[in-house]
Amino acid sequence: MARKTSSVALNERLGPYQKLYLLLVAGFILGPFIPLIIQSFAFRWAWPDLLPGTWWLEQREKSILPLAWDYVISPYSQVWEATLNTIYIGCVVTVICLIICLPAARVLARERFKGKPAFEFFLSMPLIVPEAAIGIALLMIFIHIGLAGSYTGIIIVHLIPTIPYMIRMLTAVYQGLGRDFEEQAMILGASRWQILRLVTLPMLLPGVVAGALFTFLVSTNIFLLTFFMGQGKIVTLPTLLFSKISGGTLDASAAGITLVVTVPGIILLLITERFIKEEAFGKGFGN
């Protein structure tokens, strides 16, 4: 009941232009998905037909090969393999990134040292230098040392663009935390380990989770570096999608794969919305 009144109120509060604006925003976000969904169920969809002339389900029995969604969910599409690889790489990258960034962020947030601004700028360099430049140069080195085409190689290159983001987020969290709580625990006789486990980490947790989710999301979206280092042997969702749609035409199976590729991002977004938003961004960045 209360919800209904509030929605009515919102409806009344908004002017016609504001409503139009909201509609346009929704259209821009959701619009591109509509032809994708239709295409993924089409057998033959040619201009100028508004809807596919022949649907996949009509042809399903006649075809000797899996079509459309049958292809997408079959092992031939490599969707499952790519999803597992993407998640595996994303998780390892996130954990390593945290291990590297937590101590670094602590120092950056709390200590003053000579050349700190220059160092901070240096840390942001990977965000400025084009990925292609890093990728080509690293590929030559990795081929020499035998890391090209391996998970280790991909994980290492994924750390390059993720570390700067993670450091920035964690530094902000540490700055918001203050030293007082830890000092208080120390005065009350807690050991360093107890302080870390019982005081620092719980207070950092929302920020850490937000940073980890963000890192994971960045890692799962890296195309170029993965493409260089994976050498086609290690397939992730972005490289799979690229090889499927690089022709510039979208057939039913390509549309299906495109839809599948958006799923991890949407799931993470929902998690973030639901559990993290208030907590992390409120505590972590609010102060």
Binding site: I64, L65, Y71, H144, A148, K233
Partner: protein, 444 residues
């Protein structure tokens, strides 16, 4: 865990590298000299355990055949086939050359075999990155005509005019065939370049071809060069290399062809504005399906049949003869690079690919025409291939055979491609002689 194992295996392979390389080199030399029995190859292949085949992965049909037929068949021979799907064959060639540049020799690289033809093979050969003459020593190579006295063996002995020396195995034979959308074109489709011009004058913008340097676009340009050859002998002079022919002679031969393409350009897709050339065959298929163009030309004897089967071709699609007498025919191959990590497994794979069973299933499922030669087969095997064929649509095999032309020498392809980019795409005001001379100079 997986990561630790991987890094351990990396360290392990670095240490074992040198010994392995010497061993692999001895094996290769023995095999190429004909001293290694096939049983020994099979035993060694099982020890190597796997083989990485790099191929263009843009076709669902080929991917399905590879995963559902080839992988289990090789697993039965004790070899794990890793089909690596790539977007451009050149990527795999570059990888081989990069690894070669980094000092990785036989047994140490990462590419065991690549699906190639034409320029990519010529590049590997020029860079001395081939394993050697393996293809005519495989047991199933009896299915392939190697006798140089038989004119039909030419497609096995020369790849775009470059001698293969059995360092690649013919995998599939293709012909450049055009399709017409009969739902949009009433009457006969044009069968000559002049006929195409008149059709486009009446129906502006209803045709285009794939943009060179994609080989499908290069092939259209080559057919135009043959048809406009001022000496009237079509493909004949284009079999020589640029070294034998010389820049001035090539310029003379291709000038009328390029003038035709220049005159054709304003009538192509996008007529009135800038001509639009699709980047690859998939984009071309999209234009054809949507009726933006009435004709679509690419390699694909069974392209229309399989396209109708999976909905990528419009319902009225049929094949037709164009250009008369100059429908380029060639083969594509599986090559083993000189730094293949698993040379014996690669040979077992190539041998499987040359078998009648694999060729027949590949034809049926992927629509890829056989690369083995039917006259070398028993009547039974030959019938098996015929039965697997998805079939021609609107033309007969006799029509196609009567209009066949060979492809162009790979060294000329480079120059013709560069000339197209300069003369047509960049709209250079220089004469064709100057452009060709320039392109030839840049080759070296």
């Amino acid at each position: 865990m997986r990561k630790t194992l991987l890094s351990l295996s990396v360290i392990g392979s670095l240490m074992a590298g040198t010994a392995l390389a010497q061993d692999a080199t001895a094996f290769r030399d023995g095999f190429v000299a004909g001293d290694v029995s096939w049983e020994d190859v099979q035993t060694r292949a099982k020890e190597e355990g796997e083989i990485n085949l790099y191929y263009w992965g843009g076709s669902d049909k080929i991917n399905i055949w590879m995963d559902s037929v080839a992988v289990p068949a090789l697993a039965a021979e004790g070899v794990k086939l890793n089909p690596v799907r790539i977007t451009g064959t050149k990527d795999a060639v570059d990888l081989v050359l990069a690894e070669k540049g980094a000092g990785k020799g036989l047994g140490e690289g990462s590419v065991d075999a690549i699906w190639v033809n034409g320029e990519n093979f010529a590049t590997l050969k020029r860079q001395d990155a081939l394993l050697g003459a393996f293809a005519d020593k495989l047991p199933n190579s009896v299915n392939i005509e190697w006798n140089p006295e038989d004119p039909r063996a030419l497609l096995n002995l020369r790849d775009f005019g470059v001698e293969t020396n059995a360092s690649e195995m013919p995998w599939s034979g293709q012909q450049y065939v055009c399709a017409v959308n009969t739902a949009r074109v009433s009457g006969d489709a044009p069968s000559t370049f002049d006929g195409m011009m008149s059709y486009l004058e009446a129906n502006p913008g209803k045709f285009t071809y794939v943009k060179p340097p994609h080989f499908i676009g290069n092939t259209f340009v080559q057919a135009a060069m043959y048809a406009h050859n001022p000496d009237g002998n079509g493909a004949v002079p284009f079999q020589a290399s640029i070294g034998e022919m010389g820049a001035a002679e090539l310029a003379r031969l291709i000038t009328p062809g390029f003038e035709y393409l220049k005159a054709l350009e304003p009538h192509l897709l996008g007529a009135g504005g800038t001509a639009r050339y699709p980047e690859d065959p998939k984009a071309l298929d999209g234009l054809f399906l949507n009726g933006e163009i009435d004709f679509s030309c690419q390699f694909g004897l069974y392209g229309v049949a399989t396209g109708l089967r999976d909905g990528t071709y419009p319902e009225g699609a049929e094949q037709f003869v164009f250009p008369e007498g100059n429908m380029i025919k060639n083969k594509n191959y599986l090559v083993i690079p000189g730094n293949a990590p698993n040379p014996a497994a690669a040979m077992v794979m190539a041998n499987y690919m040359a078998s009648v069973d694999s060729q027949a299933t590949k034809l049926e499922i992927a629509g890829m025409p056989p690369g083995i030669d039917p006259w070398r087969l028993s009547a039974e095997d030959s019938a098996k291939l015929d039965a697997a064929s998805p079939g021609l649509v609107g033309v007969t095999q006799a029509d196609l055979d009567a209009n066949t032309a060979p492809d162009t020498n790979a060294t000329l392809v480079d120059v013709i491609e560069a000339t197209w980019l300069e003369y047509i795409e960049r709209d250079s005001s220089e004469s064709i002689e100057a452009i060709v001379a320039n392109a030839v100079a840049n080759l070296k």
